[in-house]
Amino acid sequence: MNKTYIEINQKIGEGNVNVLTAEEMINKVEREGIKVAASEVDIVTTGTFGPMCSSGAFLNFGHSDPPIKFEQLWLNDVNAYHGNAAVDCYIGATRMAEMKPFEYGGGDVIEDLVSGKSIRLKGTSYTTDCYPLEEIDTHFTINDLNQAILCNPRNAYQKYVCAVNSSDKTLYTYMGKLLPHFGNAHYAGSGCLNPICNDPDYETIGIGTRIFLGGGIGYVMGEGTQHNPLNGFGTLFVKGDLKQMNSKYLKGVNFEKYGSSLQVGLGVPIPILNDRIAKNTAIKDKDILTDIIDYGIPRRDRPSLGTISYKELKSGSIEFNGKNVKCSSLSSLYHARNIALELKKWINNGEFFLNPPAELLPRQTEYKAMRQSTAIRFVKDLKKKAIICYNDCDLKIVAKKIIEENINHVVITNKANQLEGIVTSFDVTKAIAHDKRELKEIVTRKVITTKDNEPINVASRKMKIHEISALPVINEQNVVTGIITSEELM
């Protein structure tokens, strides 16, 4: 049985519309079958609540007297983008406060705005004949603004990967804190409640679709950036009036050593126009599969270690490589469920009507990687021969090599050239100062290393983080094949 938007909206107006959440729809279809569900249910509501970095808001302050044309501006010390007319700006969720980076950011500014808090605005200008004011330092609340429009270029990922870490260090990522040696796993999204998962063929979601956004009404403006429908990673470009939103559904977040973002609450109503759509909205967590991705590999194409369903992800632990790994979400299932229920309530109360899309979202978009005009350089391209001493070597010989070869680092290995340590010219100087005679007394045994196929930038970041100036290059057998020092990176 087919329905139209007009018929469903009529039912909303009459107060006899039948709305279920995506979780409730699963039970309905299971109990009564697709045919019955399709004819009885008019709308299925969805919801998701999680960090969505591609979020931000356009604000218009109105003109000052004398007028100013911003060149730079800061909201609570967070730099906002200004490249539009005089007093327009875009505050991005991931921009961090200049004095308190990693503690406060654009996401927090948006949360504070929506909560009605006072925000400090500082701006500077190069001045023009029409905009003579050079500087401004003032306070405002959301009510003082002409417009405050949440405008998020990429929200509501259809699904996301499950992140793990194979390396020997704790990683701090946008997927949260990942413990070494596959110590834990993180995922995002609400699975069977995720908006696009309930309309994977984009039969209803399109430009103009009215949605729940941040506790207020929003609209789909089109496909989100990096929209990748062919691989099941569709995204939405959304907007909404920030003034109507609720800070309960817009929360600033700051990930340790990663930075700021915004948790966004978003829900899309799916009209049950036909049996096919009814079937799609009954999707279960066990049928939504995603990849387990190793964030320990600092490359764009991180290796996939297998696939996993949202059912397993939501269970709290996943099994892979024969190991049971604790797993948790970065998205709140509690809030996702509440959003679907809230949207259902709005529709049942006749406060929310469906808006048919002007155009459906594309299903064939190609997802491309960045075109880089210079070839990526690897450690193997820049490494030089390592000067090696065996572990039983006399300290004096180590010192001699440093002078003869005019180097600062001597790599210490066993007889099979397997890495055992490193000695710097400074270590040797210290040895003399402290009257130490043995190599073993001064050798650094915990050595930070690199490999042939590591990009140069990754190797140089290692040196920067650990405040060292050289990395021995080793192969899979721990055999030293060279060294890379800060001199090669200059």
């Binding site: 609540f49 960090p51 949260g176 804190k177 834990n184 977040v253 948790q263 604790k326 299932l333």
Partner: protein, 125 residues
Amino acid sequence: MMPFGVIRNIEDYSKVINEILRYEISFNILKFSMASKGINILLDVPDDKIKAITQALKNNNVIVNKKGRIIIDDERCTDCGACISLCPTDALHLDETSRLNFSYEICIGCLLCLDSCPRNAIEEM
């Protein structure tokens, strides 16, 4: 030593504080916050009074905990769960309604969760 208590309402709170005041000692209230299960108070109590005060609190049906080393700020927590996978004992877990729950009694105080919260809702006691 810092006993940790969960109190149901403000009257209980007054009662408990009066109970402690009976011992005629001075103490600091380090933290007072409303939580989903009632009121959390974090007290700094002199070591030699811990036993007496713990008993006084327990007499008032207050949960006293000396093991858990973290406190969750329910107003900041958004129940995302970013801390859960880091907890080696399931002290941090989702309850049946998918809200974050912290079981003080099984927290071993490893503090692995401390820097995992993007809302900065986990504090060390």
